[in-house]
């Protein structure tokens, strides 16, 4: 039989009670979603006020309303879409080629001893090179056209993708692979059903980085040698001291970056819902 203890009936002491001091506050920052939006709106308002009141020279810092007007004119004239189309074309082609090659190379490095030995050596040697420095050489090899710009973006995307993919493959828990092997699951199925989904968080994190790399490289490449594209447009506006148009170009780049970030968030929510 269990000997059940009676409820605590000890007489209360007359000594004064005091609360235990709470020491667990802080170190749990919240997203502060509204705080961010309100602060941004405040900064834009102050900026607008500074511009409309003549506190700053509009040549150096055009007011947000002037940038909005410049954007509207660019959109209605069709110039915005032309520049945007060329930039998106270059980014799209370069990113797809670089990503495809990076994913294949990353998986090869993650799965094969031979590929790992060769691949990591080359990636370690070539990854630190600023890819834009290769543009003149690529122009020499591929001619004056779209190819060298696309190749520059593809190169930049390739290295980051390959690194994130093989890091992701390395991070797949070995016990899951051993588990699959213990059930005689074939190699290709282990790659498809264990390693691919296991590496996906790292691969998607890599996409976030390569999207920024592609944006940086397209602007740089277009500034060096292009008639159309957001980079070329920003450079022309700067040369003509049309700072409202220059900042309109910067706003477009920022919106592009935000849109890509949202797209990757959406992909993560869809593909990594199990986390």
């Amino acid at each position: 039989m269990l000997d059940r203890a009676a409820p605590d009936t000890k007489e209360e002491s007359t000594e004064r009670r005091r609360p235990v001091a709470f020491r667990g506050a802080g170190f749990t920052p919240d997203n502060g979603r509204y705080v961010g939006s309100i602060t941004l709106a405040l900064v834009v308002a102050v900026w607008q006020l500074a511009g409309s009141s003549g506190w700053v020279n509009p040549l150096f810092l055009p007011a947000p309303s002037a940038i909005a007007v410049a954007l509207y004119k660019l959109a209605t004239s069709g110039a915005l879409w032309q520049h945007l189309w060329w930039s998106l074309l270059r980014i799209g082609a370069g990113w797809i080629i670089g990503t495809a090659a990076g994913v294949i190379t990353g998986f090869a490095i993650g799965l094969s001893t031979m590929a790992r030995g060769v691949g990591i050596t080359f990636i370690s040697a070539l990854f630190p090179i600023p890819k834009i420095a290769l543009l003149p050489l690529l122009i020499l090899w591929l001619g004056i056209g779209e190819e060298p710009k696309i190749a520059t973006i593809a190169l930049g995307v390739f290295f980051s993708t390959a690194i994130s993919v093989y890091s992701g493959v390395d991070a797949v828990p070995r016990n899951l692979i051993r588990m699959a092997q213990s059930f005689n699951v074939p190699f290709h199925a282990i790659v498809r059903r264990v390693i691919w989904p296991g590496a996906l968080p790292s691969i998607l994190a890599g996409f976030r980085i390569t999207a920024s790399v592609a944006l940086l490289l397209v602007v740089s490449a277009e500034m060096i040698g292009a008639q159309f594209g957001i980079g070329a447009f920003v450079l022309q506006a700067g040369n003509l001291l049309q700072t409202d148009q220059l900042l309109a170009g910067v706003v477009i780049l920022s919106l592009f970056g935000l849109a890509v970030g949202k797209l990757i968030n959406w992909m993560e929510a869809r593909l990594l819902h199990w986390r």
């Binding site: 828990p173 016990n175 899951l176 051993r178 588990m179 699959a180 092997q181 213990s182 059930f183 005689n184 699951v185 074939p186 199925a189 059903r193 264990v194 989904p197 296991g198 990594l272 199990w274 986390r275």
Partner: protein, 257 residues
Amino acid sequence: MDLIADHISHRFGKLAVLDDVSFTVSAGEVVAIVGPSGCGKSTLLSILGGLLRPDEGAAELRGAPPADSLNPLTFVFQDSALLPWSTVEENVEFPLLHTALTAAERRAVIDDALLRTGLVDFRTTYPKQLSGGMRQRVGIARALAVRPAILLMDEPLSALDSQTRELLMEDFVRLLADGAMGAVYVTHNLEEAVRLADRVVVLSRRPGRIREIVTIPMMRAERGGSGARAQMVSLQGELWSLIRNEAIDAEREVQHA
């Protein structure tokens, strides 16, 4: 089908882990492997299950596996090794996807495995939503789905709290009751070994050698009852006396490492 450890020795680099280990697990028999920390219990299980090649000796099978067995030697892992991106149902289905079973046959096998492990209501649940005990149940359901001849269990209860451990131990006793399935059960918990095994292989400290093979002289069904408690405790005491001194030495060795 018998599983034979035939003079198995293994090293990791300069570290000798197992030395000339031989024993046989007969069809339907449950053999527990106990020993001090680091004596090579899990290494031995990996060798027996074909996940690690021994430096010397071999793991061998004798006799034909049951005709309907899809994976005669099947592991139940300590951490359950579930695919976190797959639901309970998908995890149980995983080892069946590359067999000759049709979709309807797979469905029937999954239903049966989920029923036997009490997981019918958790089909669409993801592993992160489950407790440790429930996750281990999914690992057991996955193992049952391939109708193993011998289960290779690597400390399947060691990461669980004592109440969950007790519940799962009852499940193991029930699953192994009809003798259709044998098991090699690696554990550091002597109570589990005495409760479940027909024989207990006691390994010495590293490099693990067979120190003794102890037969448990009680029917498995009788061991859970209060009447058997004294004898169970006595058997645990005997096993503990076999490994106590070496367990102390092994612990000091680990602390100094």
